[in-house]
């Protein structure tokens, strides 16, 4: 349904090198209105550079980027189509939320009356009415994050880019922020989100793009990607009781090796991916005896496993 619209952001074969190092290697990705695309990748994968290229702060060596049809590196109009929410709280601490929003409105080229109207609307939409005139340095982390996002929305961008927006937030503040992002998505904004928080990605992503060493390895709905990579396999976690591993029978040991289970985070635990049939066998042969196992979990692989899978492949 989403793809019936024209993509707000189109990145095609984007390449950027810093010296001899390839930072972006023929990256292609797109985002549609009303869609949240989560960019997943380890540190140094090229996420920040891609964000900088999309916001026009890095000139690509080759490839194309268009935001609503224009290249942000060349066109001020294209830059006005996107709003950036950096990872840091990039707001003026000595100014109040209302003053901050006004400043960012003016910087983005809004006229005085538009700025006044828009900032008042956003203050209300972001739930900042009670603190709109309080200096930002006196606000809570969650409130500051809202101002941080509001500053990027002042000029009504079509594309909102958020770089790790929930870092350091408590659970409630994080939940409120997710609510806000969903609300923005329903207002037809195309949203690009970079995060290390897999749970957050799983909750918010309509599609996920996996980037490792400057290359986009896969883009798609998370279920599709997981199915494509793991099929019907399940993720398994077994923790044996203390001393049991040493007492396993030779048959049981062979079985563990056949299943290709890897040692987990302690000497008594094992993790791995197993087929439905194998999981039944394990349950039958190892787990049925409660005296052997302390913990056992079987679930569908998530984004974390997916990313680890790509990292291992690299």
């Amino acid at each position: 349904m989403l793809k019936k619209n024209k993509a707000t952001l189109i990145v095609k074969n984007a390449e950027f090198n810093y010296g001899n190092k390839k930072i972006l290697d023929r990256v292609s990705v797109d985002i549609f209105p009303g869609e949240i695309l989560v960019l997943l990748g380890p540190n140094g994968a090229g996420k920040s550079t891609l964000v900088k290229a999309i916001t026009g702060r890095v000139q690509l060596q080759s490839g194309q980027i268009s935001v609503n049809g224009a290249n942000p590196a060349d066109s001020a109009t294209a830059r006005k189509q996107s709003g950036l929410v950096p990872q840091q709280l990039a707001i003026f601490n000595k100014l109040s939320p209302l003053e901050n929003l006004s400043v960012f409105g003016h910087v983005m080229g809004l006229k005085r009356r538009e700025t006044r109207t828009k900032s008042a609307q956003l203050i209300e939409a972001l739930g900042l009415q009670d603190v709109k005139d309080v200096r930002s340095e006196r606000l809570s982390g969650g409130m500051k994050r809202r101002v941080n996002i509001g500053a990027a929305l002042m000029h009504d961008p079509k594309l909102l880019i958020l770089d790790e927006p929930t870092v350091g937030l408590d659970f409630d503040a994080q939940r409120n922020l997710h609510k806000l992002l969903r609300w923005l998505k329903h207002r037809n904004l195309a949203i690009l989100l970079t995060t290390h928080d897999m749970e957050e990605a799983e909750q918010l992503a309509d599609r996920v793009a996996i980037i490792v060493r400057g290359k986009i390895h896969d883009v798609g709905r998370q279920q599709d990607l997981i199915h494509k990579n793991f099929g019907e396999h399940q993720e398994i976690y077994i923790k044996f009781r203390e001393g049991v591993v040493q007492r396993l029978t030779p048959d049981q040991r062979v079985r563990l090796q056949q299943l290709n289970l890897q040692p987990g985070n302690n000497r008594n635990s094992f993790v791995g991916l197993v087929s439905m049939n194998d999981s039944m066998t394990i349950v039958r042969e190892l787990i049925s005896d409660n005296a052997l196992t302390e913990d056992f979990r079987l679930h569908q692989p998530g984004l974390e496993t997916l990313l680890e899978n790509y990292l291992r492949a690299e």
């Binding site: 950027f16 810093y18 930072i23 920040s48 550079t49 900088k52 290229a53 916001t55 026009g56 702060r57 890095v58 000139q59 001020a76 109009t77 830059r79 006005k80 996107s82 950036l84 950096p86 990872q87 840091q88 709280l89 990039a90 707001i91 003026f92 960012f104 910087v107 983005m108 080229g109 500053a151 990027a152």
Partner: protein, 407 residues
């Protein structure tokens, strides 16, 4: 435990090149610069630039001139066509520290009266020159001493015989016509006739007030501009610069906005200094409001442009702070914000023309001290403006590079 903390500090210092230079290289460098500047002020190596017009143009006056300029620390400045007016103009413009006119006495045999053309703001130079003049006078005109002594003896002790008088006259004549000076001719007791004329300065204003109003103004302009410009580094660290740079105006509008603020802040700061100078020390600010405003504006523009470029060359606020303190103190010392330039060794005075301080002092001095017309401030203002533009262009470029490098 204590040693561990010591070790951490030692390694931190060892691995911070900037801190190492600030701690161990810069102090010695700053000491050398200040030592050279201040040793000049104590008179040891001061050089007084003198403009001279010899109206008399006789063998005696030429002899005097030669003796005068053979003295240590007295330097004749080159002047293609010397006239009284040239001498006055060179002193008034600050090109010469002091001027001397050798004039015709009432009778040919009379000692020549001297007119010293002075700038009261360079009183030390005038005093040094007067001492040198007296010494040269005694050595250059020994006949005046001899004649005075002979007349005293003849009048008060015994009259000379005809033969003695003839020999005395012959000796005096020989001495008058001699082009050379005997090395043992001594300093003599005859005092030269000196007349002093001040060609610049407002008699109501204390010497040095106008100089230091300008000197302090440009010094603090540099400090406050750098402090203001450092907000760029804070904003960079907070990610604000990245965010603002994504706007339609890019990094350029950020630099422009900062520049505008710094220029206005600087203008207000200098205004306060000169208001105090006007109200408390009678500097004629209302009478020079137009030229003063122009100079203050270009000074502020220049220091703001330089501050923005300088700040963007630094990577952190701490680095900018440390470096700025050192750089501003050094260029202000060289440029004359701490010690009047004419007291410095010649080569530092020349170096001073590379600093905004010297040009600012030149411009403020022209209107408040020398009472020059607006033409006199055209060159300093043009140079300060050009420096500001260069700084601004450099800041645009560096802000743009920050944008690319951050990728």
């Amino acid at each position: 435990m204590r040693f561990s903390i010591f070790w951490v500090m030692f390694l931190s210092l060892l691995r911070d090149r900037g801190a190492l230079i600030s701690s161990f290289v810069m102090p010695a460098t700053v000491f050398i610069i200040f030592a050279v500047i201040f040793s000049g002020t104590t008179g040891g190596s001061i050089s007084v630039k003198v403009s001279i017009f010899d109206e008399l143009n006789t063998i005696q006056s030429k002899r005097f001139t030669n003796v005068l300029f053979q003295q240590d620390g007295i330097r004749r400045i080159s002047q293609p066509s010397a006239t009284q007016e040239t001498v006055r103009r060179l002193v008034a413009q600050g090109i010469a520290d002091v001027g001397i006119l050798i004039r015709q006495g009432e009778e040919a045999a009379d000692p020549p009266p001297f007119q010293i053309i002075a700038d009261p703001s360079r009183e030390i130079s005038v005093l040094i020159f007067e001492g040198a003049l007296r010494s040269a006078y005694g050595r250059a005109f020994p006949e005046f001493n001899l004649e005075t002594i002979a007349r005293t003896i003849e009048k008060d002790i015994f009259p000379f015989s005809r033969e003695q008088k003839i020999r005395l006259d012959q000796t005096l004549e020989t001495m008058r016509n001699s082009e050379t000076v005997e090395t043992d001719s001594g300093s003599g007791s005859q005092e030269p006739q000196l007349q002093r004329v001040n060609v610049v300065g407002d008699p109501d204003v204390q010497t040095g007030i106008t100089y230091y109003a300008g000197a302090v103004a440009i010094l603090f302009l540099l400090f406050s501009s750098v402090n203001g410009a450092m907000s760029l580094l804070e904003e960079k660290e907070l990610g604000l610069l990245d965010r603002l740079a994504t706007g339609p105006g890019g990094t350029r509008i950020i630099v422009d906005g900062k520049m505008l603020f710094l220029v206005i802040q600087g203008f207000i700061q200098v205004t306060i200094i000169f208001l105090v100078a006007w109200l408390a020390f009678d500097i004629d600010l209302p009478g020079n409001l137009g030229p003063w405003s122009l100079i203050t504006l270009v000074c502020s523009f220049s220091s703001s442009g330089l501050a923005l470029a300088f700040t963007l060359l630094c990577s952190t606020k701490q680095q900018a702070q440390t470096t700025a303190n050192i750089v501003i103190l050094v260029i202000s010392a060289i440029g004359g914000s701490m010690v009047p330039r004419f007291l410095m060794p010649e080569w530092i005075q020349t170096l001073g023309w590379l600093t905004p301080n010297t040009w600012a002092l030149e411009a403020y001095g022209a209107i408040f001290w020398r009472g020059d017309t607006i033409d006199a401030i055209a060159l300093p203002c043009a140079i300060l403006f050009a420096v500001g533009i260069a700084g601004l262009l450099c800041a645009y470029s560096l802000a743009g590079q920050t944008r690319i490098k951050s990728g």
